[in-house]
Assembly symmetry: C2
Homo-oligomer: 334 residues x 2
């Protein structure tokens, strides 16, 4: 049963996150969360002939691991929900093709992990799916090539720039399980006129505030009701903006507020500027670190506001601003 409270959807029974897998690249494997990942693939080509095929390969490996952990064959998955940053979501499409599972393609930029879990959990709760598979990826090299400059330029990065995470996260949802998605708040596109492609955090922060504020208003809950409140990939700039803005709205998030882009790397030691980003960022931090802490009983209630920047190099060249969006899921072991 799904209860609508304003813009927030509460899942009476809850969709269980029964397994997850995170497959990451070398830099992520050298970061502070290395031990929480299932596999570290050091070759940026992952044994493939192109970076795009490598990104697809990371997805395939993450699916295989997540299905193994859930002890489910692919043909028992009723639907997969997947997407990525690359034009026409080809890494996801080519990863899905050999599986033979009904597939819904999503585009939510870096919010895709949260978008897929939001929709997947609604489908499980409503009985539209017995098992749903949510899958997302990003790759530093495919994203740089597409959104910024050819890697061989060795262009200098601005201090506000973020580093696209190389990694894929896969999640299996089912009816029964200890760790549940209990609520969903779908993001609204928010355009604050930010045009700096090297400062995505600032562009996405207002959308994160919009979604968090709506969720707290709709549910009557407060930040202190949660052990961890996470944004997807705002990095240091966006994280500071959200902290300040939520405080000024009377909803201080406090120490429990973290950002996946700041968790995934040791930003100073690894020289990652403003932190990590990309669809894979929140996917692998959730699939690895967060879920393992929840299973250990360290966190009982967690909010993830997966953030995305809706834009393309062409739209920026044509003078459009970066539109932010943030989809929220509420995870609980209670």
């Amino acid at each position: 049963m799904i209860l609508r409270k304003g813009n927030t959807l509460l899942l009476e029974r809850g969709a269980a996150l029964v397994s997850s897998a995170a497959v990451v690249g070398r830099k992520e494997g050298e970061g502070p969360l290395a031990d929480s990942f299932d596999r570290i693939v050091r070759d940026p080509y992952a044994g493939q002939k192109s970076w795009e095929k490598a990104e697809s390969e990371l997805q395939k490996q993450a699916v295989t691991l997540a299905l193994q952990k859930a002890n489910l064959p692919a043909n028992e998955i009723d639907v997969m929900l997947s997407g990525d940053l690359i034009n026409q979501c080809t890494p996801s499409c080519y990863a899905a093709a050999p599986l033979g599972i009904p597939m819904l393609g999503l585009f939510g930029a870096c919010s895709t992990a949260a978008e897929s879990l939001a929709l997947g959990s609604l489908m499980v709760e409503s009985g539209a799916a017995e098992h749903a598979l949510c899958l997302t990826s990003s790759h530093f090299c495919t994203a740089e090539r597409q959104f910024r400059t050819p890697l061989a330029y060795g262009g200098q990065r601005s201090p506000t720039a973020q580093w696209t995470v190389t990694g894929a996260g896969a999640f299996v949802l089912a009816k029964e399980g200890a760790l549940k998605i209990k609520g969903v708040c779908i993001g609204r596109p928010v355009d604050m006129g930010v045009r700096d492609v090297s400062n995505m955090g600032a562009a996405m922060a207002p959308a994160a505030c919009d979604t968090l504020t709506r969720f707290f208003r709709d549910t009557g809950k407060a930040p202190c009701d949660f052990d961890l409140i996470l944004t997807g990939d705002l990095g240091s700039i966006g994280h500071r903006i959200v902290g300040e803005q939520m405080s000024s709205q009377g909803l201080p998030l406090g120490e429990r507020y973290e950002d996946c882009g700041l968790l995934v790397y040791d930003v100073k030691r690894q020289d990652m500027h403003a932190g990590g980003s990309g669809c894979g960022c929140s996917a692998v931090v959730l699939a690895g670190h967060v879920i393992s802490k929840m299973k250990q009983g360290l966190y009982s209630n967690v909010l993830l506001a997966g953030t995305g920047a809706l834009m393309s190099p062409m739209s920026l060249q044509q003078g459009d601003a970066i539109v932010g969006i943030a989809h929220l899921i509420w995870l609980s072991t209670c």
Copy 2:
């Protein structure tokens, strides 16, 4: 209540299609369905500075009209589901931004209209949304620039090539209404190794057959139970393949089988080669022609298998084939 029968989802109550609007370009307005469209925008720029902004403008106009017809303000829409063909779905993102409606971005290539209606109807049926807005577009000029060659080349088109429809279709779904979506079958990606970007119909046809076959198997229904069976945008080549393949599987579709890409243009008179294509193709044919015929009582039960080609220019350059997908919705006035 959603009933799962194999891969098919039956909506016990059904999600009502309470309004729709189709806004199209000049060529579509010169075709045989001209009278069924709400607005014909003859300027390919639609008064904007770029074709991409024009595509976004067509979406905005379609939404405005669909909301007017449904007599609903934007803030009574709980969720919008939208997408298009352009990199990072920017026409949809920028059309959504001013509306302030929670938005789920989709990527299903030309199957997006059916994908959005499938997901939207599941959300209404399950109570996740009281009102859902489904929105899709394509534009000949944005698609040619992105997928093929600069228009100024004036490149010769192959006889198997299709013409991307310039148009946007918007649909409002609600609980109560005479015309309902009663079933959904989510597509599986099908890779048959077709690599000819000028023959998308052949690449997508096997996916249409896969989805139609699964729907008939799951429901025990036969083609003769429907007044009209439509594929999204297979054009003449794909239409012929589907007709032959379904017959060889013992499910002849007969005269009731049509394709939106063949309906939208007078293919011979307008010299459209294999017919129309693009996300907007099935969207405007459904929003205009099909729904008006259903309202007139000429059709009671209609199947739409929205077809999509999952690929990008880069994936083809890297040697990948075109993966087809087809999402099915069952519309009924019974």
